[in-house]
Symmetry: C2
Subunit: 172 residues, 2 copies
């Protein structure tokens, strides 16, 4: 069987984009692959996955320190995202990881915080065994066009809209 | 914050239905919840997730022994699914688990191997703290109507259609 690094995208407005990426990380670690997760949002990951990640020895890099949706300083946010991308691209290009998960990068790209061309150049020049998963809403068309596998998570029914509180262990 | 057991459904023709459920299991275990996964298909889960599940202490019950798509014996398959459902429903109703994942149950229901009414009766009479996740294509409308959260995983682009082999640690 030929091993070949894939680019996978989980996008759409529904739940399961990050959790499906976590499930892939889980599977990959079980197969002995080395996995790194770069989190582009501050505080996006909660206690549950942080603790399970620790138990499984999954490398987590939270990069969005200080970056929040309430921020008024666009330039500062862009600089934070550029720094996060610099760390992420180095990991991708190093060849040290079999799987790199870029959590919420689609969203960051969709909002123009980073150059889509620069991200594509990095993905296309990565070592051939490296799998990359990009999650987040609004994946740009250019990224979709170079991906091997794209799944749209569509929100058919969502508990928050029905007045049900977020649940420990399920939502965080 | 009110704790309340949710019914979550991952359906659709795309990737990520089972992996997103695995991600939820991962998060739940990290929060100290007790989780049980019932697998309705034989051999559906591969080395990767079996091994990670073992590392995390996730209870996995493979129930589809002998049930394959090549089977010619419909009655035998129905009997296997009835036995699997009997084990699953007991776990759900016992209240011992905070989260029960019924992997591929939608598919089984969609093909008429089990009574949708019976499954709904069990879900509706479960202890109130129990979360249940149902995965698989073709979730029946009656199940969707009682669910709290429904996500459709839509296949936008898939590597197999493009002649790329399944990849270790990503697909299995």
């Amino acid at each position: 069987m030929s091993q070949r690094g894939l680019i996978l995208i989980n996008t759409g407005n529904g739940k399961g984009k990050t959790t499906a990426a976590l499930g892939v990380a889980f599977r990959a670690i079980g197969q002995g692959l080395t996995v790194s997760v770069i989190q582009f949002f501050k505080g996006k990951w909660k206690t549950g996955e942080m603790e399970a990640a620790r138990q499984l020895g999954l490398e987590l890099t939270p990069m969005g320190k200080g970056f929040t949706w309430e921020s008024k300083n666009l330039e500062e946010d862009k600089e934070l995202m550029r720094r996060a991308w610099s760390v992420a691209s180095e990991k991708i290009l190093s060849g040290k990881y079999d799987l790199v998960i870029l959590d919420e990068l689609n969203y960051v790209l969709g909002y123009g915080y980073l150059s889509v061309d620069e991200v594509i150049r990095c993905l296309q020049s990565r070592p051939s065994h490296v799998h990359v998963v990009l999650t987040g809403r609004n994946a740009p068309d250019e990224i979709i066009s170079i991906a091997d596998c794209v799944t749209e998570m569509r929100d058919i029914k969502h508990p928050y809209r029905r007045g049900i509180a977020a649940q420990k262990g399920i939502d965080f």
